[in-house]
Chain length 213, copies 2
DNA sequence: AATCATTTAGGGTTTTATACTGAGTACCCC
DNA sequence: GGGGTACTCAGTATAAAACCCTAAATGATT
């Protein structure tokens, strides 16, 4: 008998899945939690083999719940149950120790299979999820390149840039930072080069795009 | 016997709710659809009293499905079933003829009550939903004010603004749009006033903030 | 018919920004 | 101690933008 805890703030969903699993003879739903903060207390008084854990919870995030559970109850396995097929969610969840990740738009059979597999010590992921991850790995390099392209701005330049974005003139910036007008112009010039901009418009765009302000 | 059709792209959820309702003697789930485009064909060959309709569907939106259903089968009643407790969704759904709106995080009892009430010709809304609507009505005026604060930019001004954001000088803009430099300067001045900006930086910020480009 | 916003354009002035070159100080790292 | 980078400031010059004014043609709205 595989003892399962369902953690999902959507009562209707939790109830539904619970009934879904009730038909399975080898699976027993021993509890349901609608809040992340209820999970740890529940586990302390009830034996559970597997947690079906929703990522988006109203109080504590599913990631956090997973981390705590894995810390306190290492033998307990977590299957993430999510609406979102996004690589970032999946990887984060796996880093927190989840053994499976299935989407809510998969059918009952796949859910049951996931529970059985994870209970047997294996991993289980929805086909869509694995595809997403593979795509993500393939495009990871682009992401890194994008990260590299983030310009390195010195502290002073950042200050100047911030004031530029806030619609201040060079003279005003010089006054605020107690600098010579020429110095501000100098910083501005290097910013134009570093951010590959032609003028103020480009500086502002870059600043906002790279969240440098 | 109340015949119910469940429309939700999350198979697991649909299956769960179906089982949830299977215990109710007066309710019969006659079908499940995972795509909006499957609803109309299904209704043409199967008798249904009430549709539990998810708003977010992968192909046709729940709003569109609701509209079509109400058009073709006026006697059929729709209960919107959504994760999102947002006034905009609720009002749109009601405008499309839905008779009820309940959240997925409500329990089984409320779902059953909603089905019975709507079947009896009444309306039914989750408590949270009605609260949201009331709050929305109260803050409607602020929303209007916010809408008013969105600057009204003329076509030409929008073109000029777009080129400004793309780091073009006034002379370049004049050349591209076949205008006099003075005309471009004129537009730029009015843009400064309309967008309440001091200089190019302000124009770019406003343009990006209000998605005017 | 009259009003209003838009689009167009000019003349003139002042303020800002950009370009280019050069240079002294300071700090960190090897 | 030398090499690199950041920070500071200067002069000269041009380009661009901002601010002041006016004003005519158009089109929509009332």
């Amino acid at each position: 008998m595989i003892r399962v805890l369902i953690v999902d703030d959507h009562t209707m969903f939790a109830d539904g899945v619970s009934l879904l699993l009730a038909n399975e003879t080898q699976i027993e739903v021993t509890g349901k939690c609608t809040l992340g903060s209820h999970v740890m207390p529940f586990l302390q008084r009830t034996a559970v083999d597997i947690i079906l854990l929703d990522i988006s919870l109203p109080d504590v995030s599913g990631l956090e719940v997973c981390r705590r559970v894995r810390e306190e109850f290492p033998r307990l396995n977590v299957i993430a149950l999510s609406m979102f097929n996004q690589a970032s969610y999946v990887t984060e969840m796996l880093q927190q120790g989840a053994k499976g990740y299935i989407l809510k738009n998969t059918g009952k059979d796949e859910l049951v299979r996931a529970i059985e597999r994870v209970y047997a010590g294996e991993e289980f992921f929805s086909r869509e999820v694995t595809e997403t991850i593979m795509r993500d790995l393939m495009t990871r390099k682009e992401a890194e390149n994008r990260a590299k392209s983030i310009p390195k701005i010195s502290r002073r330049e950042q200050e100047v840039l911030s004031l530029i974005v806030n619609e201040h003139t060079n003279q005003e910036i010089a006054d605020v930072l107690c600098l010579s007008l020429k110095t501000v112009e100098s910083h501005r010039s290097t910013l134009l080069v570093k951010l590959n901009a032609r003028n103020t418009a480009g500086l502002v765009k870059s600043a906002l795009a790279h969240a440098l302000v």
